[in-house]
Symmetry: C2
Subunit: 217 residues, 2 copies
């Protein structure tokens, strides 16, 4: 099969998806599907492959309730099958880059020393270079790649999602004890199945006309 034959099913999935406001609290994503979705997070592309992130999968009902309190009371935090907190590694430390080099060496079976050109390039950019000043924003952008890929692929698998920026990041960091670990929450995503009573599911999807957002040059 030519992979492009998948277009109709993906097209249908993108039309089907919406930011689910009300999840069916009784329905859980089955373990095999969730395992794959976690795997897709792990496989997300990132700048230099540095993966400046950690994904917290929060099931604990008490913590979920605290999230809701610090997230505008949004029911997605308590009712969705799964809740992900996308956290960044803050002030990207040299140790993270070193760990990455060791991981490349391990996976590819090459000496760490052979990676020094790449590591020097990374250091001259996000560790000591011009992007150091915005390194946390750089990391946050990478986390949003993960968010975007996750929502798109979840839709193809028939899994509902709701991206959530409406929460108090400082409170979430406190709840999860992130600051002391050099991490910070940047965005959340609830995943599961829409409640049959979520009226938002029936609203027509609103996007600007293609000619307003796409320009060919």
């Amino acid at each position: 099969m030519n992979p492009t034959e998948r277009i109709p099913q993906i097209d249908e999935a993108l039309e089907w998806r919406y930011a689910t406001k009300s999840f069916d609290a009784e329905r859980q994503i089955d373990p095999a599907t969730w395992d794959f979705l976690e795997r897709s997070l792990v496989l997300t592309p990132s700048s230099y492959g540095l993966q400046p992130w950690k994904f917290f999968i929060v099931g604990d009902p008490a913590i979920r309730a605290k999230f809701r309190e610090n997230g505008w009371g949004q029911s997605q935090f308590t009712d969705a099958s799964h809740v992900i907190v996308f956290a960044i590694v803050t002030d990207l430390p040299q140790s993270h880059v070193d760990k990455y080099a060791e991981r490349i060496a391990e996976v590819r079976g090459v000496p760490v020393e052979s990676l020094s050109p790449l590591m020097k390039m990374i250091e001259s950019d996000v560790i000591k270079g011009p992007r150091r000043a915005i390194v946390n924003e750089w990391a946050a952008r990478q986390a949003y790649i993960a968010l975007g890929q996750f929502m798109g692929l979840a839709a193809v698998l028939g899994i509902d999602t709701c991206p959530i920026e409406g929460f108090d990041p400082a409170a979430f960091d406190e709840i999860l004890g992130l600051k002391a670990r050099g991490l910070a929450s940047v965005v959340c995503c609830a995943a599961g199945y829409r409640s049959p009573s979520d009226k938002y599911a029936d609203y027509a999807k609103v996007r600007f006309a293609p000619e307003d957002v796409i320009e060919h040059i």
Copy 2:
């Protein structure tokens, strides 16, 4: 068919994909596939649905050559079938929010006035509220959702991609005349087919171990 039966093919696609360094300059993405990929960009989710972006699809060889000159000489700019520049709407103007309200009214057949609670919420956040100070970063993060979804879905369709942050955004803005239009480039993505001689295709994919990036709570 249960959509979760698609897991093996998506899993295979994510393993297959890599940041393509060398594209086959002779192979073009067919128009139907590209049309769908553009459509997927249009359908990308964003904060409040505000779509603070514009996607430039650049085919002009002269402009592509200028991109390469201002993009570390990377051959992806000239050799890939398609090149997208992801641009944000800078300093999100009230007019953008108004245009969004009009679009909702048009698509859903409701009076614009009925949307005022949502519009007030938006205004009290990204127009006049706490996130105004970081509104361009907020917009850039949204553009990265589009990038993430695009790369994931392209892989499922057997299309190679390479995300590119290594370029001079000011130069790109100049080349495309973005500043005067209230736009700014934030990231690029090349798309097409890998060159058979791209040695990077054979390198083992490097990701941190799942237990290093995923935490269950």
